[in-house]
Symmetry: C2
């Protein structure tokens, strides 16, 4: 056994999760040690990553290990077992705050140079660049994606279902998408027979060639190119607005500007300038002068006109209001504040907004604060057809019933940046008529599109190794969970035609005897999955990267009411496993509440679930029966916790994160004591179970008593907290601490 | 070669088709004789059938061959080739008219005895019973059904499409059906391992047993039983009415009272008494006294209250009007006359009404004469799901576009009265609580249902031989037309589970190499068929008897605008073929126009198409290349006729049936002269083509000149016309007659 084969690497991140870790880990280790498993903390917090970037500026004592670099290397180890908690994807203001805090703590790190002038500045900026934004996931996600609803959560929901809006059979709501001129209709795709370099080029009408990008492709790599016609898009948008107005439904736009980072903001911008076309026509020059950017939404107009004289501002405001005449009602993000669907591009993100609409009986909120039917516009037809299929399904069969629904887990193609349409370096907004093309080293044109100014052209890569692993993962999941799998691949789509060939080929590498494996178009696949789901049957969706992103919200929100309770596993290409917890950030608001009321409402459910799979996998891979037993009993404990409603309350004075951890420990110990698989383990944990149970009132009392007043700890930092101080805050029950110390002695 | 192997039996029927035959056959024979094919007339007219029933009352000269009996025998001949034109399904008034006419012509046949008192009367009545109603089809339809859109018609429609109503993506229209308590949910089915007798029994709560019916089943025969709960039905109806009112759509009921002769009128009656529940509650006793039968619709109330004093009538009328308060708008059959959907059960027949609604953008006509969205209620869910699927499809993809649509031909299970749910002798409205069951000769209970008063229970039979032949026909059609076939069989439905076993078994008997044969649920099947259809692809639907009936209207109405232009072929179990022409009766109104204006607007398109298939099959079966050539060139001629708009006009003075026949002959001769497959045939028909062409103006002129005045022919009868007189009427062009005589000399 190597060390890693019996180690779980548990990430120390930021804000609420990092606080919760302090309370949870002592409990967890009490259990894992019984299976010879070490749970090691690796610091990948924002502060930790900053410090790791400047060893030369720190004293030896201040220097830290580069946790992220360590984990990055670990992903290549077949024994890797990493539990990854949510972390801060730092914006520049957050980065600056953190730097200031560290400097205040005596770390001699430099300020962030916004406008670097010297080489030194540039060096500093480049070091900071490595910790900015989504810096962690690309390093750790060294594999495809395995997302599923944990059994305990499914069972809980079947008993205590979330609310679902009613669907009227006569609902007018529908999805609308382009029937031509979009990426789907113009997609081209090829598989590289040999490794080789390609160039993305623009050929102007005068024949001049501009190289936009050079790429080195691997053998077997799939490369796509596609074009959306700006003219067709604008025509489509105008038609949908007129149709919505005429048929009396609200109009709403659903894009994914955060993922399709370049293309979708442009699409969004077209929607803004089409909807408010009179406004933009009238103030064309002024807006250009002011730097109004419609891709940032109507808010860009509001922001830029601030500087104008009052009378001019008022004129423009009147012109904005005039635009609503002759247009359909706009679906609102915030009816009270008057924030529409076209305000900013990041407010309505298709993978969250469409499930919310469908869960709400197909309705969105109108300007008058009423829920109404609407036309959900998703111009790019590649994926939007699935929403129309689900809408039709709900009209026909009514809202999904969480108490009977089966589940649709996802096996998503993600490894090695597969199908990253968002990659801004391969997306271009064309500014002159001509041809966009992909040319190989021999000068042969592999793919090409005629383009007009404003057209969006983008390319995308998918590595063969990633596809091969994805097929394996799908087969494995099907086998392990005894569940049929559908590969969502559209036989009419260029990219998918290439993938279908590979899937069929790589399926041959596996024993698929007795498995139900199908390849279906997205619409066929979602329909079959839904038909099975309402009959209580499960169906694995094996999808590409975008559908992975969409479906891991869509189905969880129907089945569980949230996607935060899903297991999110990355089985590494090299054999290890990463287990992600939670969804949706590290909850700065929770920290604020802790500081003010000493109540932490962070729900560690994601950690419980991830830990169970981490242990389960370790049991399987290392042939560690005790790890497997810990996994099983932990799931039982989580189920009991859910059922007994021992999740953290939002209100001070009630059970919080710390109390919830105590109950998890108690139920876990009880489950171990009650099992008969491993008598020694039962004997070991029986006294702990008894101690927990006997002292339940005392412990809960102590935990409650700690609440209700501001936290006052010396040396406590927001980004870089003194762990001793955190320990005092997060472990206030002497009774519990004593019991744990006793158990570990 | 037997005689039959080179003979086409062409039926002489009634009214317009029989007149048309007189003009068409001389032309047809000019062509068929060149392939050694004889076209023989067989009289199955109402008059002919009457005369055949009373040889003992007629002089030897007056006696006629029993054409129907002859054809009945012929169906058992593998060489049978019958072209069947529409005939009168005689009602008693029609029968009496015909008798009177024959008596006036000197035929000593007896009057129809309405209340037979003597044995002689009873004998007479029983002889007349054989010609009443739908007497012809059961004798001739000795096989399953093969219905398809002829190529020429498809091509015509692609160029000259019928109008299609627009579908709004925001349409509120939908189909609604029971989700439990109906026949579908309670269906039971079994296959007889051995031949044997079964009894249908009712067991009352006191244990007493009533035998309702005894049946002798064959080995391998499938028997079903099913129950619709009256309580569940009424609850469903009430809910749909409330939902339609609340969601602001019209309410309409779609049943098939003419096919499900017993069960659907009862369902219809429940709809009437639920919709007008206050009316029926208040006047319960009076209505019973008057003999009001809600199964006949609200018209039964109107009819029965005629006898009441005016004040009482007015009270009831007011009560009817009061019922509309709190109810949704009712879809209208005739807005002007105020005839609602619930007026009579035969006005809204699902297989015609639903396609009409879907073709009309999902709208029906409201009381105010406006087209509106509606809830189409089809309580029995077995088949109604296909309409909801098509509605959703049209909302998503828009109305079908006839210019690009592929086609969905049908291979329907029909032989030996398969799946005749309409058989009134096996449908029962239960009048006491108890059990309906099917028991075998050994007293074993094979199937049973708990029933409550008002519940509808019915059984249904399907013979193994019919199923076996149906599978063969589907495979043959798939092979011959190089078209995928889908067996529409629902793996969740008891009856279909039995059929799926047989289909899988019997498919083994055929070479299916290279064919695309699938078994899918109705909803999967229609979806796939539609997806293919809008992409111009064809898909054969192999369905049971009810779906045969529904689909052979649904798809033709979308594809062709009418089901009258479909080929309707019955490939006989014994190997022969019957080719049915037209749909929807023998057009008495056309005869009236002929008598008044000497203009016959009967369209013989159905005959042209049927004749082509008849010839094609003869070519195939008898290895008669010339027959095949005739078929091919006839189709070309028909295509040209459609394209040049040489179908009969509705208006006197324009081209009528006779002129249309001339053009068919001309185009047919031209096609034969132009082909190079058979030089001898080309040489033979070139002079005819030239003669037709040279004399086109003369012939059309002569035909036109005949029009515009009443027909005055001695001895002309309506039911039993003097054929010489008919000949004078239907062949008025001397030029044409001379050319034909010359060609046949």
């Amino acid at each position: 056994m190597t060390t890693n084969s019996s180690t779980i690497y548990y990430t120390l991140t930021d804000e609420a999760p990092s606080l919760a870790t302090c309370s949870l880990l002592p409990i967890v280790r009490t259990f894992t040690s019984a299976a010879g498993i070490d749970v090691k903390i690796t610091d990948i917090s924002l502060a930790g990553r900053i410090l790791a970037g400047f060893p030369d500026r720190l004293t030896e004592e201040q220097q830290v290990v580069d946790g992220l670099a360590f984990l990055g290397e670990l992903t290549q180890d077949p024994d890797a077992n990493i539990i990854k908690l949510p972390n801060i994807s730092a914006s520049i203001p957050q980065l600056k705050d953190c730097i200031a805090e560290l400097q205040g703590q005596g770390y001699d790190i430099p300020d962030y140079p916004e406008n670097p002038q010297t080489d030194e500045d540039r060096d500093i900026q480049s070091r900071y660049a490595k910790v900015l934004g989504s810096a962690v996931n690309p390093v750790l996600r060294e594999g495809n994606s395995d997302r599923r609803a944990p059994k305990a959560v499914k069972e809980y929901v079947r008993k205590f279902p979330h609310s679902m809006g009613e669907w009227s059979k006569a609902s007018r709501s529908h999805a609308d998408y382009m029937r031509g001129g979009d990426f789907y209709s113009a997609e081209q795709s090829l598989t590289m027979a040999e490794a080789g370099d390609v160039r993305i080029e623009f050929v102007a009408e005068d024949g001049s060639v501009t190289v936009k990008k050079e790429l080195a492709l691997e053998q077997g790599e799939v490369m796509d190119s596609m074009r959306m016609s700006a003219g067709a898009l604008r025509e489509f948008l105008e038609e949908t607005m007129n149709d919505a107005r005429d048929s009396g439904v609200m109009w709403s736009l659903h894009v994914k500007a955060t993922m399709m980072k370049v293309s979708h903001p442009i699409v969004f911008g077209h929607a803004v300038t089409v909807f408010y076309k009179d406004l933009f026509a009238k103030h064309d020059e002024l807006f250009a002068e002011l730097g109004v950017n419609p891709n940032n939404g109507l808010s860009s107009v509001y922001e830029k006109i601030e500087s104008l004289p009052r009378s001019k501002r008022e004129e423009i405001m009147e012109d904005i209001h005039a635009c609503y005449e002759g247009r359909p009602e706009l679906a609102m993000v915030d009816s009270v504040k008057g924030i529409t669907n076209l305000h900013v591009p990041s407010d309505v993100i298709v993978d969250a907004s469409m499930p919310a609409m469908i869960r709400n009986g197909g309705k969105m909120w109108g300007p008058d604060g009423k829920a109404k039917d609407c036309k959900a516009v998703m111009p790019e037809s590649t994926y939007s057809t699935i929403y129309q299929e689900m809408i039709n399904f709900c009209k026909t069969n009514g809202a999904f019933d969480p108490t009977v629904c089966g589940t649709v887990p996802n096996v998503g193609l993600m490894a090695k940046k597969a199908e990253e349409y968002g990659s801004h370096d391969k997306t271009f907004e064309v500014d002159a008529p001509g041809v966009m093309r992909v040319v190989n080293a021999a000068g042969e044109v592999l793919m090409q599109h005629d383009v007009q100014p404003g057209d969006i052209w983008r390319a995308c890569q998918t590595k063969d190794e990633a596809i091969r692993d994805w097929v394996k993962l799908a087969v494995n999941r099907s086998r392990q969970s005894d569940t049929p799998v559908i590969f969502w691949l559209d036989r009419n789509r260029a990219h998918d035609i290439e993938l279908i060939k590979k899937v069929n080929e790589y399926l041959e590498d596996h024993d698929t005897e007795g498995l139900d494996i199908r390849i279906m178009t997205y619409v066929e696949a979602i329909r079959r999955s839904m038909e099975r789901m309402i009959r209580g049957r499960d169906t694995i969706s094996a999808t590409g990267n975008v559908l992975r992103d969409y479906l891991t919200d869509l189905f969880p929100i129907m089945e569980l009411g949230t996607s935060a309770k899903m297991l999110s596993i990355v089985p590494m290409l090299k054999g290890g496993g990463m287990y992600e917890t939670g969804a949706g950030g590290s909850a700065p608001k929770h920290v604020q509440q802790l500081q003010e009321e000493n109540h932490l409402r962070w729900d560690s459910l994601g950690e419980f679930l991830a830990l169970a799979v981490s242990l389960e996998d370790m049991g399987l891979k290392q042939n560690n029966a005790r790890a497997a037993l810990l996994a099983k009993t932990l799931d039982e404990a989580t189920g009991k916790l859910l059922e007994n409603n021992k999740s953290p309350s939002r209100k001070v004075g009630e059970l919080d994160n710390r109390g919830s951890h105590f109950y998890l420990g108690m139920y876990w110990a009880e489950a171990l004591a009650a099992q008969s698989e491993d008598a020694e383990m039962a004997a070991q944990f029986a006294p702990l179970a008894k101690a927990f149970s006997d002292n339940e009132a005392a412990i809960v009392g102590e935990l409650e008593k700690a609440q209700g007043k501001p936290v006052e700890e010396e040396g406590y930092g927001y980004y870089h907290a003194d762990r001793a101080a955190v320990k005092r805050i997060m472990r206030p029950s002497k009774t519990l601490n004593d019991i744990l110390a006793q158990a570990n002695s």
